[in-house]
């Protein structure tokens, strides 16, 4: 692995770092809003990955000149990944909005957005259910 290889793939290294950072936040944080932040970083890393795929060395923006005279010598970047990522961004916005809406509702119902508190409340509900319905089964109460 030469220095040139490492520097030449800088975008991809950053993509991996960003992706793992986001992923780590989602997994390790107990705060529901922070999890969504992590999820966002995770998704944004993918945007970066796609944009890197589409870049052609020395390529310019793929826009037709106003007079529609296309110079055959001009190199264009690949516009397709940009279009795909536009779609993925919309999906990301929708996911974030929905996730935050759920967090708001969770806060209203549970009074907390910390995973630990919520788990405790849910275990409490579960224990009540078990003692109410478990006896008939002779099972775990």
């Amino acid at each position: 692995m030469t220095l040139e290889f490492i520097l030449g793939h800088l975008n991809y290294w950053l993509f991996i770092i960003l992706m793992m950072t986001g992923f780590y936040i989602v997994v390790s944080r107990g705060n529901y809003v922070k999890k969504i932040v992590g999820l966002n970083i995770f998704q944004v890393s993918v945007f970066m990955f796609y944009i890197s795929i589409g870049k052609v060395q020395g390529g310019t923006a793929p826009i037709f000149p106003v007079d529609l005279n296309i110079d055959p010598n001009v190199v264009y970047s690949n516009p397709l990944p940009h279009v795909l990522i536009l779609t993925a961004i919309v999906v990301g916005v929708a996911t974030t909005a929905l996730g935050l809406a759920l967090v708001v509702r969770i806060r209203e119902e549970y009074g907390s957005i910390e995973e630990d508190d919520i788990l405790e409340i849910e275990q409490h509900i579960q224990a009540e259910e078990n003692s109410e319905h478990g006896s008939a089964m002779g099972g775990r109460a």
């Binding site: 999820l39 993918v46 929905l98 996730g99 759920l102 549970y110 919520i118 509900i125 478990g134 089964m137």
Partner: protein, 506 residues
Amino acid sequence: MATPASSAVLTFTEHLPLLAVAVPLLTAPFCVLFGNRNIAWLLAGLASIASCLFSLHLLLQVIDGDIISYHLGGWAPPLGIEYRIDAANAFVLFLISGISSIVIPYARRSIAHEIRLASQTLFYCCYLLCFAGLLGVVATGDAFNVFVFLEISSLSTYVLIAMGAERDKRALTAAYDYLIMGTIGATFFVIGIGFLYMATGTLNMADMAVRIADLEGNRTVQAGFAFVVVGMGLKAAIYPMHLWLPRAYTFAPSVVTVFLAATATKAAIYVLMRFMFSVYQPSFMFETHTLTWIIIPLAVLAMFAASLIAVFQQDLKRLLAYSSVAQVGYMILGIGLLNVTGLTASIIHLFNHGITKGALFMVTGAFVMRKGSSFCDNLAGLGKQMPITSGAFVISGLSLIGVPGTAGFISKWLLVTSALEKGWWWMAILIVGSSLLAIIYVWKIVEILYFKEAPEGNTAKEVPYSMLIPMWVLASVCIISGIDTDLTYAAAKAAADGLLGAGVVR
């Protein structure tokens, strides 16, 4: 700017691949525009039935191994987006739209009971979006389009699950967990597609298959495979990635559980099959190893571990949810066996499990409606008080176990045959052994329904006919497709042949 190539006039039947998806997708905004829950319900029903008829027509067209290709916007593939219908996806399309046509009549009363009036219109809108998304995932031949439709269906699924919060606030955290895991899964899938696009320069799945054929040793292609399998595995709830499923199914409104259990994981498994067999070649060493050393052990683990957990559940809905995880194990086992019989078993189990679980969750929904919850001790003596509903439970329960004469038997029989074809007699024993666990948990419920006395002064009426009839339609399909296997077997066989035989475009 080049003009689109096709100039011939298309007839109505040629539009069917599109219409099957577009009709529910475009009906959803109409539900919002009218803003009336009865009209929304009617529209949802009509769209489902239309889509079901379209997919049945498609299935009959492609059952002999033909492929229908529809070019969106008239742009020819591989540049344009293509809807590509062969036996495999026509069969899954038929399953999804058929289930939806049966669920919608059931939904009206159950929804009226479980969701407040103001949200009901939006419920049908979300339902249609989820339905259209699943159809789109299955119908499309473009890898990125799969992601787009997957997210349409997933996002509406999260909303549908969260609507269960009016009965139990845990629906919210269930939906949140599913949102986190589902998004991670979908994002992994996009990364996988990105790798594939890097290696092949195309997004059309058929074109990808051609270009990938001699790229077996390419590490980009291999990494893409890993990402796609993990991403879709999360959506399909393959055993260690199933954590979102039991909670989501337990706390969602009954109708949502019926629909999701019967269709959502099936669509994800279809995508897995499509990528494993159509895009990637099963002859690739890394794929063969993945299937043999990772997928099969996970499948066996799912069959036993999830069934065992199911045995100890107190809540019928949660019990059935864990049983779903176990059944996913059978489906991916069929994929992992890597022969035509195994894949046929897998595809036919998609269908059979869809109708069986649909019927079982419908029965559960009826219990929830009358008793307020589906805890086992609430069900005591219901066999006498709600005989029609309980009868449907027994029949579909038998199908879940795989008793001869029911749908479940056919798929398990094929699975065992396929294992024996490979000479894996121990696998055949494992399959039968895990079915014994299914007997335990189904019998546990049957015993409570029929042999326990109802508590004093505890009575329950039958649910309305609009719920009983759909339930019995599904239950009788369990029997019919267990006895007369012509359509299902022919379709599954054609699908398996298509997937395994001709991964590359004909």
